[in-house]
Symmetry: C3
Subunit: 210 residues, 3 copies
């Protein structure tokens, strides 16, 4: 089994947990929780597979993936009754899930022979789209597009680290994946902790009518 | 002609009517009405065809489908002037359109040889995505994600009934389709009438900051 | 090089500029600006390629396209500091970008042998979806769906003009493309200037509860 498939397996589990927590905060029922977890865990990879023309889609070819998501959604109905504050639990699964999906997007794109810049872009899309979908379903402004800590930037940086270690550095795939993972998770957690932001490229001018 | 193609034909008509009513309630012009009807009638099936890698897309291979939607949108400009309350008219086309598209999604997925659990999931996606798109264009919170009566659940149950009658029960396809259709429409109408809901898996905690 | 590929190249440049201006108005950082520009410039064409089953996607097969968008986003960080009012600058790139992408959508669909009505519909989808995505990311109600000046209608009319000149009129492709372009841009600018609108097909009835 390729390392990328194992990474994808982990990504599905971690992102399902993140999706379940996201939906549970909103007081959704078990169907809503599954819908959000499904969108978070499979949204990014579905775009990746459609864009790279990979068939069948990873969750159609691996029917145990959605089954795992369903299991996590049902389990959460029991476990989450005993947990008071969900918000602090969101951070790590968010960062790790984004990191893992970024790596699968970049990796499968490299395998398909696309240009490295495009491979890293596909990594970012794969890593972030699930979270955007989850936010949209939960009716929040997607945090990716708020002036918030460096979501896509961390993902993009880690994708380049992975690609660089693999293609330039001559590292084994496992080390390159680990390198990318550490970079994304570490920079993302640091960005949230110290609230790193880029400046706006321009003041919004005090009004949206400028 | 396969039964599934006939079901799809009906689904396009019913969903177009639902989309037109949805858009007319918002006072849209004829282009907006067509856009909403198009999104409602073709959104779910387009995802289905992309996910199952079916080409050409059903509305590209059947150019009379969008022409039917256009005809319904134009006709509605005459008919709807004489109708005062649109809201009560929405319920049945919504339920029937969702049921028919669910069956096409499940059926084409079974034909493509995917796992039954995935086939039923694809049925739910095919059945509900059009309505979600329509709600988004009309700038409403998609009713699928509000704590509302069992939309996706009815669709999922009917998909299993269809699959079970076809694969386990040995029924002819026409009976299995009819069985699934009746289950979805009946449970959906009952859920709206008696306001069946699942409980949230967790209180939202009085604030969204938990 | 086919004329359509050249039109697509121009469409990417113009739409990237439009996306950058759109995002800059909202005070986004450079990553947000790139994300919006990417969505505006590649959203419509991506749907077109997925719907027509063209592989690889145009921005995966042409990695310099996203690189151009990135360059425009970075440059804008310098240039836009000296520009006070962005709003008046939005109109022309919006109209021209929509026109160019409409023509690529219609043209590639004709090449793929689809029915002319569907080809024109695909043109409209290709031409307008990028702008809808950009508005959604900037958290505005997509202007396509507001009762606003004839966005999709201009696009649809120009697609028919292009098709008619090419298939009926026997014009060379370059003239047909120019004809479609002029029709879309002229009608769109006129529609905005004189605020042309279609009437709603029905009064919304004073309340959304009708």
């Amino acid at each position: 089994m390729s390392y990328l498939v194992f990474i994808e397996f982990l990504a599905v589990i971690v992102s399902s947990i993140y999706g379940v927590l996201l939906a549970a905060r909103k007081g959704m029922d078990v169907v809503g929780v599954f819908a959000v977890a499904f969108a978070v865990a499979f949204g990014g990879g579905t775009l990746r597979d459609l864009f790279l023309d990979r068939t069948p889609l990873f969750w159609i070819g691996n029917p145990h993936y959605p089954a795992i998501t369903l299991g996590i959604a049902i389990l959460s109905g029991v476990i989450l009754r005993f947990i008071r504050h969900i918000r602090p639990l969101l951070l790590v699964p968010d960062a790790v899930g984004m990191a893992l999906f970024t790596l699968t997007g970049t990796g499968f794109a490299i395998e398909a022979g696309v240009h490295p810049f495009i491979a890293c872009l596909l990594g970012v899309i794969t890593g972030t789209f699930g979270g955007v979908l989850g936010d949209m379903i939960c009716n929040e402004v997607p945090s990716l597009f708020r002036p918030s800590p460096l979501n896509a930037t961390c993902s993009f940086a880690g994708a380049w680290v992975y690609w660089g270690m693999l293609e330039w550095g001559g590292f084994a795939e496992s080390y390159a994946l680990l390198g990318g993972l550490v970079v994304i998770v570490a920079t993302r957690l640091a960005a949230v902790k110290w609230n790193w932001c880029f400046p706006g490229i321009r003041d919004p001018g005090g009004s949206s009518e400028t």
